[in-house]
Subunit: 259 residues, 2 copies
């Protein structure tokens, strides 16, 4: 990836470098933080940051830091793959959460990651660090395996040929074993993942399908490992997933596509 | 406002012109739509649109339109005034909705508008067109009056000196009458609005205060006009508002600031 201060960088890409310097652990940054995180000259960073404030993409906080601004948030609410799906899913996610009192997550595919677009978390459920807008790896999270298994063969080959990080001793990193699990998930629509991403956490995930049979998202429940809660969660998760898919226009008999 | 094809426009401002061409009624646009809505030359619009796709700010839909992309949505989730507040408010908004089964809205001040950052709506409640990310006028909506009444005197003067649009025969557009209503709201923290924004809808709104006594948001319930539901909603709305304010660090005795 080219550095932000290379002469060939466009103004546009520098603006995005500044915006993408913000992350869930750094929602408020000083100008000095922005200079350090982007590698831009101070004068350039200052000029472009002020342009971003002018446009409403950034706003100043009360202690003279910068944060993502409300106009940019409003633009984000127009993203069909996030907010439209989030609104459709809200009643199903809430009902599932009310029934189970465990973490419930909805995620979509973005690049080689699963992005969480909605989640409800019980205060006393197993600890998880991810949040709305956060990313999960495809090869070892419940939602990730569902999304990966319904991708094109070429995309699956690419992911399996890449680096499969071992997060715990139980993370499946053997491509052949992973292919078997993905084939099973493609056939049933559901996958159970036991402590592959973090020790102490198990999840079950199911596919969400639209009216054209396209898998557009994955819905999951995460529980503490070793409890009997996982078996109890499967039927309600599958029912909620089918309900959400039906609300998106899917009907039994519409064939599931890989895309 | 300068046209987008003026020579003096910066690349940065042209990029935002393209992004702000999207709105709740136009979440998917063709390149021709973007050219028409921004007034940019076709070649410029095409080049900058492709840069926005490259950056992840836009994405192509299956029918070759453009839409706000998931990476930009993810950036939006980092906006402290939207998602952080939305997360804190979620249990209060949900409980209020469960108790009342009416529209419940949370809004913050942005420029001279109230921006809805969270809402839950009953299927059979009075019809409303606004949605998450949408805007409401300050002078005649419940949340707007709460936010306006806790603004600085100079800001209030500006708004009252501007054009006060009459949405219905009952919209209060007389500055003196409006000042009286704002003073009352500043003193009680709550305002009742009857059919000022749309005929057939009444609302009650209350202020949300943070640990420093700053009014950071307004919470409202919207019901059908003429029903007895409004009186029933007031105590629960006030209680929910106080609960949310306490969760943000406010305690009885902390003076309310106008900012």
């Amino acid at each position: 990836m080219p550095r932000a201060n290379e002469p060939g960088r466009t103004v546009s890409s520098r603006l995005w470098d500044l915006l993408f310097a913000f992350d869930p652990n750094n929602t408020e940054l000083t100008l000095a933080d922005l200079v350090r995180r982007t590698g831009m000259p101070h004068a350039t960073a200052r000029r472009l940051t002020l342009e971003l404030v002018e446009a409403g993409a950034l706003e100043r906080t009360s202690d003279n830091r910068f944060a993502i601004g409300l106009p940019l948030w409003r633009l984000g609410t127009l993203a069909p793959r996030a907010e439209t799906l989030r609104r459709a899913a809200q009643p199903f996610v809430e009902d599932l959460y009310t029934a189970l009192r465990q973490h419930v997550q909805l995620a979509v595919l973005q690049g080689d990651q699963a992005v969480i677009i909605e989640r409800l978390s019980a205060v006393n459920a197993v600890g998880l660090t991810s949040q709305i807008g956060g990313q999960l790896p495809l090869h070892c999270s419940g939602v990730g395996k569902v999304l990966l298994s319904h991708s094109t063969p070429a995309f699956i080959d690419d992911v399996l040929a890449g680096r499969l990080r071992r997060f715990t001793p139980r993370t499946i990193v053997d491509p052949a074993e992973l292919r078997g699990q993905l084939a099973s998930c493609r056939s049933t629509g559901t996958v159970v993942v036991k402590e592959e991403l973090s020790e102490g956490a198990e999840s079950v995930a199911t596919r969400i399908v639209d009216g054209r049979g396209k898998v557009v998202a994955a819905l999951s429940v995460v529980v503490a490992a070793g409890s009997i809660k996982l078996q109890a969660a499967v039927p309600s998760l599958v029912a909620s997933g089918l309900g959400l898919s039906r609300s998106l226009g899917w009907r039994p008999g519409i064939p599931i596509r890989t895309s």
